[in-house]
Symmetry: C2
Subunit: 356 residues, 2 copies
């Protein structure tokens, strides 16, 4: 697999808020090779805490992307970039504000899912890709895939939004808000001005622990931990959450946590019109996937989108996969996903070639 780790800087990016970021940098990786017709490009969009390193050793979706895998890098050119507002190479609150020479921190402008996608579009323009074969991701990645299909329908032959929603429910907002409050309750957060000092690690760890519970299912937690003890005074599940919480602090920026969860919470496709009207004469093909045990992004949220697409005679397939791992299923339930994604991509590629 040919892998390229790269970064690209653009002069300016206009944001939904009216603010402008100038310049803006985006970190990305590519796997496989772009064909002569530039018709085999797939954009992978990551979830909340992901990054551009989607495939290869340690890649967050390496089980799905690679030679012979669902997103087959022997056939397709796969691209993944870190989202705007992130902390893994793309411009975010931890970067230096060129006007002040100091980190943006909480003076970073609010970003939206649409802003993230706008930057991705600039990136594929830069790479000379007119039309993506597909854009796919789970959770917040699914929101970006939907945003692509709605905002730039002429630029995508298909979209594969997984375990996602057209808008966060009160419960989803609430869990994110608890995470933000945990961070902001940490005195080391210091209104966001902690760069170069002590990180708000305790608050960020607590936020991550809440997140982890919501990513698993009651059943998968019972299977993995049950009531097993780690020490006489500590359950395995307690030790696991604490470990994962504090490990997260090493790789994620607390202010990015606040900005990106905020982007998820404010995302609401229905603000631009009823869902069916948004997909009016959309010619992209859709494959939506949800998971039976996912209680954070329950199947009914995917079904709502599927119904809207069907109501406009769009080309849509939907699989509610029987899976035990809750929201994490999109990362670990590889076998069933591979089957449906592989078939969908092959037919999309054939159709696109026939229409070319």
């Amino acid at each position: 697999m040919v892998t390229e780790v790269a970064s690209c800087t653009f002069d300016r990016l206009e944001l939904d808020s009216g603010a402008t970021l100038a310049p803006v940098e985006v970190a990305y990786e590519t796997y496989g090779e772009l064909n002569g017709a530039r018709s085999n490009a797939i954009l992978i969009v990551h979830a909340f805490s992901g990054d551009a390193h989607a495939a290869g050793e340690g890649g967050w979706w390496s089980s799905m992307i690679g030679p012979g895998k669902a997103f087959d890098t022997d056939k397709y050119f796969v691209l993944c970039s870190n989202v705007l507002g992130g902390c893994r190479g793309t411009t975010g609150p931890g970067c230096i504000n060129p006007e002040t020479g100091c980190p943006w921190a909480m003076s970073f402008p609010q970003v939206t899912i649409a802003d993230m996608v706008r930057l991705q579009r600039m990136l594929i323009d830069h790479l000379g890709i007119d039309k993506l074969l597909t854009v796919s991701g789970g959770s917040m990645g699914g929101m970006q895939a939907l945003e692509w299909a709605v905002s730039y329908p002429e630029r995508v032959a298909s979209a594969i939004p997984i375990a996602t929603t057209a808008r966060h429910s009160a419960q989803q907002i609430a869990f994110n808000e608890v995470g933000r409050q945990a961070i902001m309750a940490d005195p080391d957060w210091n209104n966001g001005n902690y760069y170069g000092g002590r990180l708000p690690g305790r608050g960020l760890a607590v936020a991550r622990m809440v997140g982890h519970i919501t990513y698993m299912s009651d059943e998968s937690m019972r299977e993995k931990f049950g009531r097993k003890l780690r020490t006489p005074d500590q359950f395995e599940v307690e030790s696991y959450l604490k470990y994962r919480g504090y490990k997260f602090v090493d790789r994620f920026d607390a202010n990015s946590y606040i900005y990106i969860t905020r982007a998820m919470d404010t995302f609401d496709l229905t603000q631009r019109g009823a869902l069916p009207t948004l997909f009016e004469s959309n010619e992209a093909r859709f494959l939506l996937i949800s998971f039976t045990s996912d209680w954070l992004y329950p199947p009914y949220q995917s079904l709502e989108i599927v119904k809207a697409l069907r109501g406009r005679n769009c080309d849509v397939a939907y699989c509610n996969l029987d899976a035990r791992y809750g929201h994490d299923s999109f990362l670990v339930e590889v076998e069933q996903q591979t089957e449906v994604v592989r078939g969908f991509l092959a037919s999309t590629f054939r159709e696109a070639a026939a229409n070319a």
Copy 2:
């Protein structure tokens, strides 16, 4: 309704841990009047953050307890005490350790659900009640009701455990652990030594916010908050959680939070034998209630207990009530609960009188 607010001090209480509390105080309230045969006494046991003030103005279960209500104080003598380890009048970590003259804080001995119930038994002994007509409560109250039925079967004519479990699942432990970690992450917690100083209010508020989400259902949150905005930058649900979180700090002690959630997590009836064998020849009557939308204490946990009771031919009724409010249903879904509780109590009372 005759109401009495009282407190009682006992010389000593032996704990499961081997430690002894001497003396130990218990705060309680009673409603209605004990009949001559002392056969109409009902013990109400509260949930995690409850207290002895169950009925009357501002009582946490006043919708269920009072003249003509489910627990009818015109007929029954209703008693509710604050749990051991609490912070509302009963001995807990915020009380003075007589040996040091300072608050116990984290040197308070670990307490269990069985310890709480042992203290309640001393209280009914003190009040001259041989046998309770019933013991009832939701959530952690349900655990105490089960503990009563298993540890002192000869002292209860019946038990009504509501929205509860014989043991916490990994997910239930995990949510409690996040709350504890949020408290302990607050520098003002200071290893539990904050009495007389600044309270660990930020940590406790975050812990409470997590709790609140788990008490509601996806559906009830959507109905109550949806995506409504409180200000242009704040969702209603965010404002609500923050308000409830910080309000909790005024009435609850952070160390009690740690001790009581720990008691819930370590509660495990099955450690004393398989559930069916625990109920072997138990002559109490049982009414178990769960709620369809309660995802924190899902119906399958009640059903597990019901099956064990049925397997031993115990007298058990079970209602899985159709309710929207999640775990909070036991507090707010009054109408259906009243119907089943009233009938169950009346027949239990008749039967007990016939057997007397």
